[in-house]
C-alpha cells in the first residue's frame, strides 16, 4: 500500500500519522505539500490534524481551496481511500466530500482528553481489524469537533450505515456523558457512500504504542494495511 500524507500549512499531526502508518505498513508514507497537484500511484490519502491556515477562518475552509484538493477529490472519485482526522475531517466537510460540519465544542472550550469510540461497522477498510460494537480509547484534541448536520442528513447517514464511530462511555453506552463535544447523535466519524472516505475527530494515530498509554488506535492502521495490501 502506498500512502500519502497531505501537508497543509499549519497542519501539526503529520509526524504522528507518519509514525502510525509506518508501524502498520512497514513503509514511510509520502509527504505531499498542499501546493502539489498530483496524487498518482497513491492508494491511501491521509489528511492529518492540526490548524491548517491557523483555523483563522472556519476550520478547514482555506485548506479546502488548496491546489491539492482537486487531486484528492479525483482520487476519491476513482474509488481511492481517503482518511481525514480532526482538521482533516473538517477539511473534508468544507470540501463537500463528507456531509455536515464541525461546530465549536458544546462547552466552548478546547478539549484535550481520551474519549471512547464505539465501532458502528467493521466491514470497511478502515475498521476491519475492529469488531462491530467494540469500544476503543482514543485521544482527542480539538476546539471544533461538534458534529452537526440536518436531521435529514443524519437520518440518511444512519439509514445507509455511514456512521463509522460514535462517542460512547467506556462500556459502550451512547449517552450524553460519553459525548464530550456535543456531537449530533454522538457521531465521531462518518463514511462516504462507497465507504472509502472516512473522517473522524479523535486521534487513533496517537495511541499505537504501549508506551504512550495503549495501542487502541493501531487496529485502524493494521486494518488499512491489510485491506489495501496489493
Amino acid at each position: 500500500m502506498k500512502a500519502a500524507i497531505v501537508v497543509f500549512p499549519g497542519i501539526n499531526r503529520e509526524r504522528d500519522m507518519a509514525i502510525a502508518l509506518e508501524l502498520s505498513t512497514g513503509h514511510k508514507p509520502k509527504m505531499v505539500w498542499h501546493k502539489e497537484t498530483s496524487l498518482d500511484g497513491i492508494d491511501l490519502v491521509v489528511i492529518p490534524g492540526g490548524f491548517s491556515f491557523g483555523d483563522y477562518l472556519r476550520c478547514g475552509a482555506m485548506a479546502a481551496q488548496s491546489p491539492i484538493m482537486p487531486a484528492i477529490r479525483a482520487h476519491a472519485e476513482r474509488g481511492g481511500h481517503v482518511l481525514g482526522v480532526c482538521n482533516g475531517f473538517q477539511i473534508l466537510t468544507e470540501a463537500g466530500m463528507l456531509p455536515g460540519a464541525l461546530l465549536r465544542n458544546a462547552g466552548l472550550r478546547f478539549l484535550s482528553m481520551d474519549c471512547h469510540l464505539r465501532v458502528e461497522r467493521a466491514d470497511t477498510a478502515f475498521t476491519g481489524d475492529y469488531q462491530r460494537g467494540q469500544v476503543f480509547r482514543a485521544p482527542l484534541a480539538h476546539g471544533d469537533g461538534n458534529y452537526f448536520a440536518s436531521t435529514e442528513t443524519l437520518d440518511r447517514l444512519e439509514g445507509e450505515g455511514l456512521v463509522a464511530f460514535r462517542y460512547a462511555t467506556p462500556d459502550g453506552a451512547i449517552l450524553p456523558e460519553g459525548n464530550p463535544n456535543g456531537s449530533a447523535r454522538s457521531i465521531a466519524g462518518i463514511l462516504s457512500p462507497n465507504l472509502r472516505v472516512l473522517g473522524l475527530m479523535p486521534h487513533p494515530e496517537d495511541l499505537v504504542d504501549p508506551l504512550m498509554g495503549g495501542t487502541d488506535g493501531k487496529p485502524l492502521f493494521d486494518g488499512l494495511a491489510a485491506a489495501l495490501a496489493a
Binding site: P9, G10, N12, R13, R15, D16, I19, A20, W33, G49, G50, F51, F53, G54, D55, Y56, G107, R109, F110, L111, S112, M113, P139, A141, G143, H203, E205, D206, V208, D209, L211, M212, G213
Partner: protein, 729 residues
C-alpha cells in the same frame, strides 16, 4: 519632531544618571531612535541591571552543559548525540493587561528562543500564579491565560505537558505567567547568535512589523499603577499560525549551510536582536529600514526599531546562499527581506528614507550598561511555630485539603492543552511527578517539571530558593530520570526596596547551594522584577524548570496506584507544619519556618529512589510535597482508582503532623518488593519504612476511618469546573 531631553529619557525609564551616560557615550544629544535603543537595551528586562551581580553567583557548569546562560536558551548533552535546549521566560505584565494575548505571546516568545538555536520544540510547560479565587478579576485572568496558552501551543503543535498553578492574594494585581519550552537538536547542529563575516547580508524573516508592543520591555520594567489599563497597546498580538510556519521554515533552512547566525526578535525587537548579534560577534551592523516588511504605513525608524511585533527572526546568512534561503521562505509564504549587512565599524547604523536615524557604538552600549549593587535587607527568620492542636481530625482535613484551590485537580486546565500532539508523550499531565516525553525515533526520553513554593520563599528566601530547586530535582527523580539542569524564572517585586532585593539575593544563595549539592546547574533563565501593584509586592517566586533524562522511556514510572502493592516511605517524616497548606487551610495561619531541606539527605534519598525505579522494583512513585504524606497517598489512590490500608502514624508524632507535615526529601513508593527495598535502604543509610498496602477502593486509616477513593476524586475534581463554569453572578 519630539525634543530629546532628560524629561523624555525619564519617560522612557532612564534615570538622570543613565541619561548622562548616554550623552557621554554619544558626545551629543541622541536622536529619538537612539534614545529608544538605549532605553530598551538598558531596561531591567534586557540588561538585568539589578540582578546580574547575583545571577553570576549561580553554578552554571557541568560536563553535560554545552551552553549555559548567555545564549538564547540553555543547551545540555542528553546522550545519543542529542542536545536538549530549554528556557523559561515570564510574560507577567502583559498577561495582567491582556490575559489571552499576554499568555499566548509568552508561549510564542519562548518557543522562538528555543528553535532559533536549531531545536525542534517537543514540549511546553508553564508556571502560573493567580490572585484570590474569590475575586471576579482572578477568574477572568485565569480564563484568558489558560485560553491563551492553549490557543498558541495547540495551534503550533507543541504539546503542553506540564505546569503548576498557585493562588495567593499577593498576585491579585500581578499574576505570573512563566512559559517554558524544551527542544531537541543534534549536538553538532546548534545555532548561535554571534554575527560574523563583513558584508554578509542581514535577513529579516517572518511576520511584518507593526506598531504593536512598542516599549514593551520598558513596561515590563516598571510597577503597575491605576493607569496600567492605558498600556494595553504595549501588549503584542500573537499569530501562532505564522509561528508554526516560521518553525518549519527555520528548521528547513538550518538543514542547509546558509546560516551564519540567527536570533529571534523578542523583547525590544529589531533593536535587541541586531545589537546583540553584532555585539556578540564583535562586528558592526548597518540596517536600512526601508526594506523592513511593514504592516502599517508611515512607520518611523523609532517605531520600527522598538516594535515588538511577534513571529520575526533576524538571520545573518552566507551571501552565496541567499537564493536557497529565499526559496525556503517563499515556499512557506513568509516574508524574507535583506535589510542590512554586517560591517567592521563596531557600530549600529540605522538608515531610513536615506537619513541616518541612529549611529551608536556597540561596545559602550553593552559595556557601560548600568549595573547596580542594590542594597539588600535580610528577611528576619520566622519564629518557630510551636504546638498546633488538630481542630478537625484527619478525614475532614484531608477532604478540605484535596479540594482547596492549591491542591484541587488541574484537569480542567490541562484538559484545554493539547498534551499528545507529536505522539511521544509517555506521561501526560497529572500522571506522574514530571512529564515524560520520548525523543521521536529513540528510546531516550526527557523528564520535565516546573516548581516553586512561594510561601516558603516568602517566609525564608534562602530555604525557599533551596527547596524550589530540590523539589524540581525530586520530581524528576520520582519518574526515574537523572536530573541534568534547570532554567530559572525569578519573579520578584521592586528591586529598589532593600527587603525585595534581600529576598532575591537570599533565594539565589539557596538555589546555588542546592544546584551544587545536586549537580544540577542553571543553564538559562529570566528575571522579572517590579511585580508589584500599587506598592504591594508578590510572594517571591523563583520558578524552576527542571530537565532530566531517561535512557529508556519504558523505565519511567507514574504515580497511580495498582492493587496488591506495598507502600514504602523513603525519607523521614518529622511532622513539620510550618508554612504547610494544612496550617493555612485548616488552622488559618501562614506562619512558622518552611520545612528545612537537608541537601545531603536529599541527594542520598533521591539517588536511592532513582536506583530502585531503574532497577524495576517500583510500580509507582510520588514525592511528598504540598499537603504532606496523606495528600500524596490520596493523589496516588485517585490516580489509579485504587485504595490502600495504612499503618498508624509512628509513636511520638501527632497524627495530623505526621499526615500533613510537609517534610522534605520524602517519597512514597508502591512496590511488590518492600522487604528488599527496605533492606537496601538500610544498607544505603536511607530512612525507609512500610506505610501500608494498596487494595480495594477505599483509603483506610489504622483507626478504621475509610474514605472511598471515588469520594476523594469527586471532591478533588470539584473546584475548577465549579469556579470557572459557574454562571456570572
Amino acid at each position: 519632531m519630539t525634543d530629546v531631553n532628560q524629561a523624555l529619557a525619564a519617560a522612557f525609564g532612564l534615570s538622570a544618571e543613565e541619561y548622562q551616560r548616554v550623552l557621554d557615550i554619544m558626545g551629543r544629544t541622541p536622536s529619538l531612535t537612539e534614545l529608544g535603543v538605549f532605553s530598551v537595551m538598558w531596561s531591567e528586562h534586557c540588561s538585568y541591571k539589578s540582578s546580574r551581580v547575583w545571577l553570576k553567583t549561580l553554578p552554571t557548569k557541568a560536563p553535560w552543559v554545552i551552553h549555559g546562560p548567555g545564549e538564547n536558551a540553555g543547551v545540555v548533552d542528553i546522550g545519543d548525540g542529542l542536545a536538549a535546549i530549554f528556557k523559561m521566560e515570564s510574560h507577567n505584565h502583559p498577561s495582567f493587561i491582556e490575559p489571552y494575548q499576554g499568555a499566548a505571546t509568552g508561549v510564542g516568545g519562548i518557543l522562538r528562543d528555543v528553535f532559533t538555536m536549531g531545536a525542534r520544540p517537543i514540549a511546553n510547560l508553564n508556571a502560573l500564579r493567580f490572585g484570590d479565587p474569590k475575586l471576579a478579576r482572578t477568574k477572568r485572568i485565569v480564563d484568558g491565560v489558560v485560553r491563551g496558552i492553549g490557543g498558541y501551543g495547540n495551534c503550533v503543535g507543541v504539546p503542553t505537558v506540564g505546569g503548576e498553578i498557585n493562588f495567593h492574594p499577593s498576585y491579585n494585581g500581578n499574576p505570573l505567567v512563566n512559559a517554558m519550552t524544551v527542544g531537541i537538536a543534534d549536538v553538532d547542529k546548534i545555532f548561535l547568535s554571534a554575527a560574523a563575516g563583513i558584508g554578509n547580508p542581514v535577513v529579516y524573516v517572518g511576520s511584518k512589523t507593526g506598531r504593536d508592543g512598542i516599549h514593551g520591555a520598558t513596561m515590563a520594567s516598571t510597577e503597575f499603577d491605576a493607569d496600567s489599563e492605558s498600556k494595553r497597546p504595549t501588549v503584542q498580538v500573537g499569530d501562532p499560525f505564522t509561528e508554526k510556519l516560521l518553525i518549519e521554515a527555520c528548521l528547513e533552512l538550518m538543514a542547509t549551510d546558509a546560516i551564519v547566525a540567527i536570533q529571534d526578535m523578542g523583547a525590544a525587537g529589531l533593536t535587541s536582536s541586531s545589537v546583540e548579534m553584532a555585539g556578540k560577534g564583535g562586528v558592526g551592523i548597518e540596517l536600512d529600514l526601508d526594506h523592513v516588511p511593514q504592516r502599517e504605513t508611515g512607520m518611523t525608524a523609532y517605531e520600527m526599531m522598538l516594535s515588538e511585533s511577534q513571529e520575526r527572526m533576524l538571520i545573518v546568512i552566507r551571501p552565496d546562499r541567499e537564493d536557497v534561503a529565499r526559496a525556503i521562505f517563499d515556499k512557506w509564504d513568509l516574508d524574507f527581506a535583506v535589510i542590512g549587512h554586517i560591517t567592521d565599524t563596531g557600530r549600529i547604523v540605522v538608515k531610513h528614507n536615506g537619513i541616518v536615524e541612529a549611529d551608536i557604538p556597540l561596545d559602550p552600549l553593552a559595556e557601560q550598561a548600568p549595573l547596580y549593587h542594590r542594597p539588600t535587607a535580610e528577611t528576619p527568620k520566622p519564629q518557630p511555630l510551636g504546638e498546633i492542636a488538630d481542630p478537625i481530625g484527619i478525614e475532614k482535613a484531608l477532604m478540605t485539603l484535596i479540594g482547596c484551590p492549591d491542591l484541587a485537580s488541574r484537569a480542567w486546565v490541562y484538559g484545554q492543552y493539547d498534551s499528545t500532539v507529536g505522539g511521544q508523550t509517555v506521561k501526560r499531565p497529572g500522571g506522574a511527578d514530571a512529564a515524560v516525553v520520548r525523543i521521536e525515533g529513540r528510546q531516550r526520553a526527557l523528564a520535565l517539571t516546573t516548581d516553586v513554593t512561594p510561601r516558603y520563599v516568602f517566609a525564608d528566601p534562602e530555604m525557599g530558593g533551596m527547596q524550589a530547586v530540590a523539589e524540581s530535582w525530586r520530581n524528576l527523580t520520582a519518574v526515574g530520570a537523572k536530573p541534568l539542569a534547570i532554567t530559572d524564572n525569578m519573579n520578584f517585586g521592586n528591586p529598589t526596596k532593600p527587603e525585595i532585593m534581600g529576598q532575591f539575593a537570599s533565594a539565589i544563595c539557596g538555589m546555588a547551594a542546592a544546584c551544587v549539592a545536586l549537580d544540577y546547574p542553571v543553564v538559562s533563565g529570566n528575571v522579572s522584577l517590579y511585580n508589584e501593584t500599587e506598592g504591594t509586592g508578590i510572594l517571591p517566586t523563583p520558578a524552576i524548570g527542571g530537565l532530566g533524562v531517561l535512557e529508556d522511556a519504558a523505565q519511567a514510572v507514574g504515580l497511580a496506584f495498582k492493587p496488591g502493592l506495598s507502600l514504602v516511605l523513603i525519607g523521614e517524616i518529622k511532622g513539620h507544619l510550618g508554612q504547610s497548606l494544612w496550617l493555612r487551610e485548616i488552622a488559618g495561619q501562614e506562619a512558622g519556618p518552611p520545612p528545612p531541606v537537608d541537601l545531603v539527605a536529599e541527594r542520598a534519598q533521591g539517588d536511592f529512589v532513582r536506583a530502585q525505579i531503574l532497577g524495576g522494583f517500583v510500580q509507582a512513585c510520588h514525592d511528598v510535597s504540598d499537603g504532606g504524606l496523606l495528600v500524596a497517598i490520596a493523589e496516588m489512590a485517585m490516580g489509579g482508582g485504587v485504595g490502600a490500608s495504612l499503618l498508624p502514624a509512628p509513636e511520638g508524632i501527632a497524627p495530623h503532623a505526621h499526615w500533613f507535615g510537609e517534610d522534605q526529601g520524602c517519597y512514597v513508593l508502591a512496590t511488590a518488593m518492600p522487604d528488599a527495598i527496605i533492606a537496601a535502604a538500610s544498607l544505603a543509610s536511607v530512612p525507609a519504612r512500610l506505610l501500608g498496602r494498596t487494595s480495594g477502593v477505599n483509603l483506610t486509616l489504622a483507626d478504621g476511618t475509610s474514605i472511598p477513593v471515588q469520594t476523594l476524586a469527586a471532591e478533588n475534581a470539584r473546584f475548577f469546573p465549579e469556579w470557572m463554569e459557574a454562571p456570572a453572578a
